[in-house]
Symmetry: C2
Subunit: 217 residues, 2 copies
Amino acid sequence: MIPTITAFAQSPDRGKGQARDMRVRWALEEVGQAYDVRLVSFTEMKQAAHRAVHPFGQIPTYEEGDLALFESGAIVLHIAQQHAGLLPDDPNARARAITWMFAALSTVEPPIVDLGVALLLERDQPWYAQRLPIVRDRIRVRLGELATRLGDADWLDGAFSAGDLMMVTVLRRLNISGLLDEYPSLAAYVARGEARPAFQRAFDAQLTVFNDASKRG
Amino acid sequence: MIPTITAFAQSPDRGKGQARDMRVRWALEEVGQAYDVRLVSFTEMKQAAHRAVHPFGQIPTYEEGDLALFESGAIVLHIAQQHAGLLPDDPNARARAITWMFAALSTVEPPIVDLGVALLLERDQPWYAQRLPIVRDRIRVRLGELATRLGDADWLDGAFSAGDLMMVTVLRRLNISGLLDEYPSLAAYVARGEARPAFQRAFDAQLTVFNDASKRG
């Protein structure tokens, strides 16, 4: 059975692959699972039909027969548990890879989202310029700790895993901030993720959606 | 083998059970697994020995033989996968319960943490009073959506699960904000979680640590 995911009909990132459907697309490409995509507009996302699947009115969702999931972390974990290729077989290594998924979403992403919120929603506020360096410094703390742990390894814990997939997509959200450039080993880590053929297929797929939407106007 | 977790030697919440070790203690109590606790000071948390287990210098951690984990979400999921009692057996229901764990940590908790950061670190900033209502409104959006989904059910998806455990501990962080009082069904949901004997045993255990530390001065 081919699962169906949802994605933005018009992604606000203008095809940069920073929306959270990218994580799910990448995971599906890594394990070689075909998928269908249902595009939803910002209006549709907040309506009852979509909220029946995603209570918080967001994308992505994942539907497969009777199963309906939301939250990119939960969806990627589900895919990784159903197919080989994204989690090690050894139980301890598997638990550690899942730990990195949670670390990406729960420890590294929140200050990055906070920066995005500041840039998007607080730019006209009187405190914007004064608060921005504080928000950026909070991200630097996490990036420094992550760079220390990564060291000169290719991936966070042995072979590439769903933990790396999640961390790379989280770090990619820093693209316009310049912060990643301050941590060359993390920039190289992200580039390694982006160089994977599965990433590229997923990226091209979401870019096609954006380009098609732009053509329609 | 009895696992060892870490917790604050002196919790900044003054025994209210809002630190993230509470999630792990509660999960261990729900499944009836005994555990040891190693207390760490704020200084120790940031040192190399602790960072070898937790790269971001936080609590809790979980050590069991050769396995060392961090991130409360990953630890609770590990416990729930090793023991019966926190996840349904049906594969689809299981995936949905795990989805609620991610929703708690990745969608509901970040704006709540943002409020905590504002209260703790930005109180002396010139923008504090002006920005606070915006931060609180962002939390209200999530609470409204969560209350709509919960409806008049006891738990988020069928029987109590690790998803509820995580969501209740996230919502408990709102205690001093007054925000939970605006959503009576969510306040009742949190109270249902707190009434569970396993919650109470976990709460008492962390309170004892705080009281002992206070006596030592």
